[in-house]
């Protein structure tokens, strides 16, 4: 939007603190378009602060976050957010179709009802994640993977180029993980930039094009081979290195 650059999310010298404790310290990273990017780091590393900053929720002490060349706080809605499964009330009286339609709310003025085009867009998004047959189910009746896909559909119907996913693979089984990854790949092919907070280092190399390794400050950003290096991981994860030797080696294979 208004920029021809290949950078979707441009973070410069971002420093955010809560009281005197820095949550993020001098983070500079430029995420290119059409990538599937994983954000990794130990608990309390500032991953959620990073998300909030990209969504434009936090006021940085220093530095800027630009979404498609615009300051994040003014770029509301250009980043579509997919919440963690635990953050959603699954008993809420809402159907799959309505959740997908929610993605359109920003475009609909407050005095108008959702129109035919909005409904169509929501349905198309559901088709993209292959959930159209479940459109009239209440969201609590779905399996974990299906629920995750419905929220992906909502993000897709928002029409944003950038999708932000908070731990989409948490608490789902291997087959479901595959199904979700498949949808992410297809979203990427249709021209989306996806930023995914991820916990499982053992799959990080396989799933993502690029990785962001943070712990307050940015330790690395690049291809998985460049990020999952023993020296980096040992500094970020401190004493718990041994379990990673396996990942590091696998990555070094051609």
């Amino acid at each position: 939007m208004g920029t021809d650059s290949a950078i979707a999310i441009d973070v410069r010298h971002l420093t955010v603190s809560y009281q005197s404790r820095p949550a993020l310290l001098d983070v500079t990273v430029a995420v290119e378009r059409d990538q599937l990017v994983g954000v990794i780091g130990p608990n309390g590393a500032g991953k959620s602060t990073f998300i909030k900053a990209v969504l434009g929720f936090v006021k940085p002490d220093l530095g800027t976050v630009a979404i498609n060349g615009q300051p994040a706080q003014k770029a509301k809605g250009q980043v579509a957010y997919v919440p963690q499964r635990g953050a959603v009330d699954w008993d809420f009286p809402i159907t799959v179709r309505e959740v997908a339609l929610m993605g359109r709310y920003q475009q609909i003025p407050w005095y108008r009802n959702p129109g035919h085009r909005d409904r169509q867009a929501a349905l198309e998004a559901l088709e993209m994640v292959r959930m159209q047959d479940f459109a009239d189910r209440q969201i609590g009746e779905l399996s974990g993977g299906q629920q995750q896909r419905v929220f992906l559909a909502r993000a897709l119907s928002q029409g944003s180029d950038i999708l932000l996913l908070d731990e989409p693979f948490a608490g789902v089984d291997a087959a479901t993980e595959r199904a979700i990854l498949d949808v992410l790949e297809r979203a990427k092919k249709s021209g989306k930039t996806l930023v995914v907070v991820h916990h499982d280092l053992s799959t990080a190399a396989e799933y993502f094009d690029k990785l962001i390794l943070i712990k307050q400050r940015l330790y690395a950003y690049g291809r998985p081979g460049e990020v999952l290096r023993e020296d980096l991981l040992s500094r970020v994860y401190e004493g718990r290195l041994r379990i990673f030797s396996d990942i590091v080696h696998r990555e070094e294979r051609p």
Partner: protein, 429 residues
């Protein structure tokens, strides 16, 4: 009989109570849906209790400054201010001190309620407020001023809720997404709190401070058991609110009981009835579902029994091996026929191809368990019984054993262990 229904309708006090009560109950049911879904039930309580301080304050200010006696708009404004102040105090205490929110609510609403009580009694020569009226409400003594207040409140609140329905929906369901598309989430919170305060203020004169929460929460919760969409839930909640008032008022007239009490009793009974009978989230349907559920173990036992005999087996023969109640047997067999695991052959039951595959899986697990149990030194006579229990564990357990035991062909009794069936594709999702 007809007269019993019609007679009260000719009385002005009853007409007023009916109209005023219905309007208030309708709007509190609708707004109550958001209160229930946001888990703010306690807030309704806090607001209603805070009101008395507000009313006393409003009364006092209007009287001392303008010399107006029992000025209704003044008292309304006073109670609104008190309500909003209570909410602000609660969230302030919960955020800043180590005291958690539920305790903060308890402290603040009793504190402000008590302040109101003290004020009313200290200034009793200036303020003419009947505390009892406040606490219990008086729906049959409803005045025209009350009717106007509740009518105006209902119009304002319903208009706000209908106009901004989508925003309230999204801010309740997913506040982070709401904020991410630029909605003023905090402002919506305040707007909703104001709406709830307005409704509570107009409802207190009818059912009283203590019961007002019931009018706010119960119809909404009743509707929650019946609907999977917020708009339907709101319509139903409004309806349940109105039926509570109608039902409650008749109970009140017939039994000559307290009005507010009768309404809430009726409302609660209505909830209990719906909870029992609701088609999806009701007790009865839950019980029926559980009853219809055929335990996997019964199915697996029947399958292996038929597999072992290699022919169609009559029901009586199955029953000698599978020891379950005749009723359970009927249910299990009917279910398995429906699911295509079994086929009726003459007087007996035979396995369908799907049933045979399933049965082989269980048999394989059984024999793997026997082999494993024999290897860890389980006495031979206990092998079968123990394996019979363990064979119902998941398929993964059997595959683990298979790996542990090496590529085995025969179990300890010298019988062949069935091969693993071709891996089925995992279901989507």
């Amino acid at each position: 009989m007809m007269e019993l229904v019609l007679a009260p309708l000719r009385e002005t006090y009853f007409q007023k109570a009916l109209i005023g009560g219905s309007v208030v109950a309708l709007v509190s049911g609708v707004v109550g849906c958001l209160v229930v879904l946001r888990r703010m039930a306690f807030l309704g309580d806090a607001l209603s209790h805070a009101m008395i301080a507000g009313v006393a304050g409003g009364y006092l200010v209007m009287k001392l400054l303008f010399g107006l006696e029992a000025h209704a708009p003044g008292m309304l404004l006073g109670s609104l201010i008190a309500a909003v102040a209570t909410v602000a105090l609660i969230s302030f205490v919960a955020r800043i001190s180590r005291v958690k929110e539920d305790a903060a609510i308890g402290i603040m609403y009793t504190g402000i309620f008590a302040l109101g009580v003290v004020a009313v009694s200290v200034f009793r020569q200036y303020i003419h407020i009947d505390l009892m009226h406040f606490i219990m409400g008086d729906i049959l003594g409803i005045t025209d001023a009350d009717l106007w207040v509740s009518g105006t409140v209902a119009c304002v609140v319903l208009t706000v809720l209908i106009l901004f329905f989508r925003y309230f929906q999204i801010a309740t369901f997913d506040p982070i997404m709401a904020a991410s598309i630029g909605l003023p989430v905090l402002l919506l919170d305040y707007l909703l709190t104001t709406c709830v305060s307005l409704v509570v203020v107009s409802a207190v004169s009818m059912v009283g401070v203590i019961l007002v929460v019931g009018l706010l929460i119960t119809p909404a919760a009743t509707a929650y058991l019946l609907s999977d969409r917020l708009d339907k839930m709101m319509v139903l909640a409004g309806l349940f609110g109105v039926t509570s008032v109608i039902g409650g008022l008749y109970v009140c007239v017939w039994l000559d009981s307290a009005g507010g009490g009768a309404i809430i009793v009726f409302c609660t009974l209505q909830f209990l009835a719906v909870w029992t009978l609701a088609p999806k989230y009701g007790l009865l349907s839950r019980w029926l579902r559980l009853r219809r559920l055929v335990p996997q173990q019964h199915i697996e036992d029947i399958l292996t029994t038929i597999l072992r005999s290699r022919a169609a087996v009559p029901r009586e023969a199955i029953a000698t091996y599978v020891e379950i109640k005749p009723k359970e047997m009927t249910r299990a067999l009917r279910y398995m026929l429906q699911e295509g695991l079994l086929a009726q052959e003459g007087a007996g039951f035979a396995l369908s191809p799907a049933g045979e595959a399933e049965a082989n899986k269980v048999l394989r697990a059984h024999r793997l368990w026997e082999t494993y149990l024999a290897r860890i030194g389980t006495p031979r006579e206990e092998l079968h019984a123990t394996a019979h229990q363990l064979e119902h564990l998941s398929q993964d357990a059997a595959e683990y054993l298979h790996e542990q035991l090496g590529e085995l062909r025969d179990d300890p009794h010298g019988r062949k262990i069935p091969e693993m069936a071709a891996q089925q594709e995992p279901p989507a999702g």
